[in-house]
Assembly symmetry: C2
């Protein structure tokens, strides 16, 4: 394998894989996308990520890098000729890492549980997610300074961490019949989400909501041996 070969092990529907793809697109890095089969892990995946056995894995030359936010930071640090993903300012970088951790540790885990929850538990999760969106709306107002993205004129670290979750947010809204991202309560985020999905680095890798819904049904039914939908 050539020293500068870049491969990405992933699944098209994974928001975490999307983070790596968007980052590679921002930096104009050519890479080979190796689609894993759901329910069957390739030998290369097991060798490259023996701890978690999960996608995404970026393989740069012969070196595997795992965990989506670690991958995004690696891409940002290695391919410095492209636009920066994290700010140069130390404090801004800390703020960006803070919100990315919040999304992964608190917001997304609550959001992904909504569809499987019932009654009071479900209402608590919806409230948590909506409160989280209010916090993110406030952060957006503070950091975007009237521009399109959390990162200003260009997509940055918070944009990637949050924007990659938009597809599954829409699935949750549609299948779970619940309004989460609301024009009246979070107008900044609604506009931001449109700009994010329309961006050149994003639109080729952001799955359509209908396809994600189909994939989600397949995941639920996979015990029964239904065929995997392709993107």
């Amino acid at each position: 394998m050539a020293k500068n070969d870049v491969k990405l092990l992933g699944i098209w529907a994974s928001p975490f894989v999307m983070r790596a793809r968007i980052s590679l697109n921002i930096k104009s890095v050519n890479y080979e996308f190796l689609e894993e089969t759901v329910g069957s892990k390739s030998e290369l995946l097991l060798q490259s990520n023996p701890v978690h056995k999960k996608v995404p894995v970026l393989i740069h030359g012969d070196k595997p890098i795992c965990e989506s936010l670690v991958i995004v930071q690696y891409i940002d640090e290695v391919w410095t000729s492209g636009p920066s993903i994290l700010s140069a300012d130390h404090y801004d970088r800390a703020i960006q890492r803070f919100w990315a951790a919040y999304l992964d540790d608190k917001w997304f885990p609550a959001m992904r549980r909504i569809r499987g929850a019932q009654g009071e538990e479900r209402q608590e999760l919806v409230d948590q997610v909506v409160e989280g969106l209010a916090l993110l709306e406030e952060a957006f107002g503070k950091y975007s300074k009237g521009k399109a993205f959390f990162g200003g004129d260009q997509i940055g670290f918070i944009d990637i961490a949050f924007g990659s979750l938009l597809g599954w947010l829409r699935v949750t809204e549609k299948v779970g019949e619940v309004k989460l991202l609301d024009e009246a309560k979070t107008p900044g985020l609604v506009k931001w989400a449109d700009c994010f999905c329309a961006d050149a680095a994003v639109k080729s890798v952001m799955p359509e909501t209908e396809k994600l819904i189909e994939f989600s049904k397949f995941l639920m039914a996979k015990m029964k041996g239904a065929p995997s939908p392709k993107n």
Copy 2:
């Protein structure tokens, strides 16, 4: 507040607060430690970390930084004249971030649940923690290259992320009557733990196991109004 004033909001028994303290010690940064009272959050804490309302919070000048691993990276990036905490090499940095995330997302959450668990659940948690230690032993062999620390001759990012959890590991072993860090299975880590705790940047902030046990009993009993043990 002067621009370069450094304050740390913390609780002496918190492993996450310890990460910030060790990092500040490594960089020889003078700071004021503001001890929070358990069960009562100060106004400054609520203002500085409105999202999580948790310690540690580093306040640099008038800027609050939250989340321990974010704080450690911030300290490393701002005070560059001291020894580096993360490596300069991009791939090594990715590896360091990977293991720190593993410790916080998988290993520590399993370890902290051991004492409250029973029967089969407890055995599963113990097995998870022991398997994790085997992975960390392997990583130590690979990255320390025969030197004292994951970071080589000096304490680095993995050392701080993992070493800060040693106090509570010992509490779990002692109170939970379970052997986790085992000379026979993880000889490298046993030696590393001794070196880590003896390091000049660590020994003044690493609590004695007996004091942590006392603190842990206080936490269990705090509904009854027991007084807080001080370090």
